[in-house]
């Protein structure tokens, strides 16, 4: 494991020593300082990604192909290492398989010494950041110059990358101008982006001409030929190789792909996924030593290409252990395109100096940091992944990034100390967790028990919870931010209401469908938003469907998000037992809450055996999805509704997980069919994300994310629309941010029933 990480560079917040308050304070600071530049750039990249991938005819097939190549390559990794070693050595190059950072650095320093070098130029490489090679080479008495403009800025500022692809994304043009002016003591300092670029090009041109060794990373290395692929835009990586006689490429072992032909899908996907460019300016396929004359700028002479030297340093540093780890293995498929960061609502607000570890940034950083620097390196930022899942469809190799975050959270929970307030939740929440998840996680993770007790004692529980004393205590012991309104628990749950109500009136006007459904009484619908559940029952019955609302436990979404995987699994098994008895007699499962549907249709595959997972997944539907299907069966069903004029213009926010499942279109479809004009938000997540927005560390970040959504729903043309959102969290967040109420779509349908 690397021991001397780049985080010691000033300006990069050491992630280890952060107590509760430090974290909140750091997030607040970054929201104010680096946030605006990060936001503008990442949102631009993310929009660019949507546009660029839409221009591909075969986007999904390319992703599939890329994924398959990576799975195969990691599977056959030892053989590929052998093959590439043979290929490189056959051409006169050298390969060093480095066990860890120290080993890699020692080798690189030796190569420099042997080449009699005193100056090393570098192109951008996260792997070289991982091993902190700059510090190691400086210790060996070498000068190192970063030649990527962004990396050079960071080197001058003694700062650390905040993004996988655009390392200085957090720096504004003005800051860079000030940095150059002060560093170089300039009389007529460059100001515009063009002037700054010219200035950097000239300065770096001198360094490139002077250097002896060129150090690059590699986006891909082909095992058959030893071809180093570099995906770049500035041209500095090309110069780093062309202008120096000795080329050292540092690459994680996971960068190996079997053949040159395997590069095709990656070359098409990487730029589109990352910065939204169809392709970057330069994709270099170098099979060194390169047959291009050496350039001696001092002597103004070119030299024989034959004198070029090449070293490939393949870095293990924990990767071969990750390969053996069933949950972390997927991380090795990552091509570091940055899509998961750009698409992440939280990352967009704070960037990689909060949402990142010692080296890596964004959602996948959790996997990388845990794998190469150790579990603790992921601890400080791992909770910033809320599991919204928007990154999953953006990832060109289809990594289940939220799952990696969940697994690492689970491992961190298990390695934790028992909290001194644990007795508070122990009686309330006997869970299946060994080790000690932090108290706050246990509270939110076991929310079902809290909700049951609160319902049983409502309205007293609500009144009690609203008092200052209790809110202060909840904030102190559980980190529940007192600025958030708490859910109002209902004495009569949906299940109780259903059991006690008179016989239903099911429309029998439609004879095409004889299905019966279980309306799944999720935690919130059952205990808090009981009216929403009743609305769903009324709507389904009006459409000719028989409904049952049996007592069923909570899906396990809550403990799952807290990284309490065993508890979540226990929930999943119990819920599936109950629901499958209904499925077996021919009932479908209809959900009100998209985050629970996402459990049934997606996350349960991590928790259940395949057969049970598939049976439940195939029988589960979102309620608007179900209505859409019923409309398709018999168009006359739309006549059951007459949307009141006030509801005919709708501002709709699709729940994040609902969008990832591809289900948001059904809500739009249903509303449009009923004559509504629908304007849909383009933000990736509302920012509430279940318990996330309640936690005092993250309250302000959650609100900042929500403000993007608020802005979209308060612009002219939207400000007067009825606000509709699919998830409980989204409705709560929108209620807190807007002066007009937000509604679940099924409630809008219920009030439109004729």
């Amino acid at each position: 494991m690397a021991s001397d990480p780049a985080h010691e560079r000033q300006g990069h917040d050491a992630p280890h020593d952060d107590s509760h308050e430090d974290r909140a304070a750091r997030i607040r600071r970054l929201l104010a300082t680096e946030g605006p530049a990060v936001h503008e750039n990442t949102v631009g990249f993310n929009e660019g990604r949507y546009e660029s991938v839409a221009r591909l005819d075969d986007y999904e097939a390319l992703k599939e192909e890329a994924r398959t190549i990576k799975e195969d390559a990691i599977e056959r990794l030892p053989a590929l290492v052998e093959a590439v070693t043979e290929a490189v050595e056959a051409r006169g190059g050298h390969v060093h398989l480095a066990a860890d950072a120290a080993d890699a650095n020692r080798y690189i320093a030796e190569v420099c010494t042997d080449a009699d070098a005193d100056h090393v130029v570098k192109s951008k490489s996260m792997t070289s950041e991982e091993i902190a090679v700059n510090d190691a080479l400086a210790d060996a008495g070498l000068r190192v110059t970063e030649t990527d403009l962004g990396e050079w800025v960071l080197q001058l500022a003694d700062d650390a990358p905040s993004h996988l692809v655009a390392p200085a994304i957090h720096k504004s043009r003005e800051e860079i101008a000030r940095l150059f002016e002060h560093t170089f003591d300039l009389e007529d300092p460059p100001e515009t982006a063009t002037e700054l670029t010219r200035f950097a090009r000239e300065r770096l041109g001198e360094h490139l001409a002077d250097a002896d060794v060129g150090l690059t990373g590699a986006n891909f290395v082909t095992a058959d030929t030893g071809t180093i692929t570099l995906v770049t835009s500035e041209g500095n990586a090309r110069k780093t190789v062309a202008a120096t006689d000795t080329h050292v490429a540092v690459a994680g072992v996971e960068k190996l792909v079997p053949t040159v032909e395997d590069l095709a899908p990656f070359v098409e996907l990487i730029g589109r996924s990352g910065t939204g460019q169809d392709i970057t300016s330069y994709v270099s396929l170098l099979t060194p030593p390169v047959d291009t004359p050496t350039l001696d700028f001092d002597a103004d002479e070119t030299g024989d290409p034959e004198t070029r030297e090449f070293h490939l340093v393949l870095l293990d540093n924990g990767r071969l252990d990750m390969r053996e780890d069933d949950d972390l293995r997927e991380t090795l498929y990552c091509i570091r395109c940055s899509a998961c960061a750009n698409t992440c609502a939280n990352f967009q607000q704070v960037g990689g100096h909060a949402f990142g570890g010692e080296t890596y940034t964004g959602g996948i950083a959790t996997g990388w940091e845990a794998g190469v620097h150790g579990l603790d390196a992921a601890a400080a930022f791992n909770d910033l992944c809320t599991g919204c899942s928007r990154c999953v469809e953006a990832c060109p190799v289809g990594i289940d990034i939220p799952w990696i975050n969940t697994v690492v959270r689970d491992r961190l929970n298990r390695s934790g100390e028992t909290d001194r307030f644990d007795f508070l939740v122990d009686g309330l929440t006997p869970d299946a967790e060994s080790g000690g998840p932090p108290l706050q996680k246990r509270f939110f993770g076991n929310f079902e028990r809290v909700a049951r007790l609160a319902s049983a004692t409502a309205p007293l529980s609500n009144r009690l919870a609203a008092t200052d004393v209790v809110r202060a205590a909840m904030e102190r012991t559980l980190g529940v931010d007192r600025r958030r309104a708490l859910p109002q628990f209902r004495r009569e749950t949906l299940v109780e209401w259903f059991a006690g109500r008179p016989d239903p009136l099911v429309t029998d006007a439609f004879d095409d469908v004889t299905r019966e459904v279980v309306l799944y009484p999720d935690l919130y619908t059952n205990h808090v938003h009981v009216e929403r559940g009743k609305a769903a029952v009324r709507v389904l019955e009006a459409l000719g469907v028989r409904v049952v609302v049996p007592p069923v436990g909570s899906s396990g979404r809550a403990p799952f998000s807290q990284g309490m995987v065993s508890t979540a699994r226990a929930h999943a098994e119990a819920v599936t037992d109950t629901l499958l008895t209904h499925v077996e007699v021919g009932r479908d499962v209809v959900t009100v809450e998209p985050s629970d549907l996402a459990m049934f249709r997606s996350d349960y595959h991590h928790l259940l055996d395949d057969d049970r997972f598939e049976r439940l997944a195939a029988a589960s539907f979102g309620c608007l999805e179900y209505c859409y299907g019923l409309f398709e069966h018999d168009e006359r069903r739309t006549e059951q509704f007459d949307v009141p004029p006030a509801d005919r213009r709708v501002a709709f926010h699709g729940h994040c997980q609902q969008r990832t499942l591809g289900l948001d279109g059904y809500t739009e479809g249903v509303l449009e069919r009923l004559g509504c004009d629908v304007a849909t938000s383009t933000v990736e997540c509302c920012g509430m994300a279940g318990s996330f927005g309640y936690k005092d560390d993250y309250y302000e970040l959650s609100v900042a994310v929500g403000e993007d959504l608020r802005d979209q729903f308060t612009v002219e043309g939207c400000a007067d629309r009825t606000v509709v959102a699919g998830g409980t969290s989204c409705v709560e967040q929108l209620d807190a941010l807007l002066d007009r109420p937000a509604t679940h779509p099924v409630e809008l349908l219920a009030r439109a029933l004729v």
């Binding site: 750039n41 030649t147 403009l149 962004g150 800025v153 200085a168 720096k171 504004s172 043009r173 003005e174 860079i176 982006a193 063009t194 700054l196 670029t197 010219r198 950097a200 090009r201 770096l204 041109g205 490139l208 001409a209 058959d224 030929t225 071809t227 835009s233 500035e234 041209g235 500095n236 090309r238 110069k239 062309a242 053949t259 040159v260 032909e261 590069l263 095709a264 070359v267 098409e268 910065t275 169809d278 392709i279 970057t280 300016s281 330069y282 994709v283 270099s284 396929l285 170098l286 099979t287 060194p288 390169v290 047959d291 291009t292 004359p293 350039l295 700028f297 103004d300 002479e301 070119t302």
Partner: protein, 168 residues
């Protein structure tokens, strides 16, 4: 659309100027697109030689590279879908010539225009196994967004001009 047609359409979308020319008309085209001083690597077109042009320096020294405004090289394959041209490393210095100057003029034989990235990478795979040591898929000028907004001409050329040679 033919591959050449979609290649030039892609170039236009990238704002990369292009010209179609026969070998016979090539000198006239180069008169227009070379901004002196020019360094070059041989274009590899049968029956055409740059040695006849006095305004072009072949086998440039590092100083020539630094002092030149235009770098003239052959390129191929070209990729119609992307408007990309592939610069191949060679002992004549195509790589530095295409990289160090303000303007890169890339000369592409019509027959070297392939429809897709996949086709180009397939061809490069064979070439690499045959000994090709460097191939840069170059698309438009060099660029950076690191200084606060998009700027063309980072470390590499600020402008690219593509000449498609007909009948070759």
């Amino acid at each position: 659309m033919s591959s050449v047609g979609s290649f030039t359409a892609s170039l236009s979308e990238l704002d990369v100027p292009w010209t179609r020319s026969t070998v016979d008309a090539l000198d006239g085209v180069l008169d227009d697109v070379l901004a002196p001083p020019t360094v070059a690597a041989p274009l590899g077109l049968d029956g055409y030689s740059l040695t006849d042009r006095s305004d072009v320096t072949l086998d440039p020294t590092p100083g020539d590279l630094d002092g030149a405004t235009t770098g003239l090289t052959a390129a191929g394959p070209a990729i119609a879908d992307y408007g990309s041209v592939v610069v191949r490393a060679d002992a004549a210095g195509s790589e530095p010539v295409s990289l160090y100057c303000e303007r890169h003029v890339a000369v592409v034989a019509e027959s070297a225009v392939l429809p897709s990235m996949r086709a180009a990478i397939g061809e490069l795979g064979d070439a690499i196994r045959d000994g090709l040591t460097g191939a840069v898929v170059a698309t438009g000028p060099s660029a950076t967004a690191d200084m606060g907004e998009l700027v063309y001409g980072a470390h590499g050329p600020t402008e690219v001009h593509v000449v498609v040679v007909e009948g070759r």
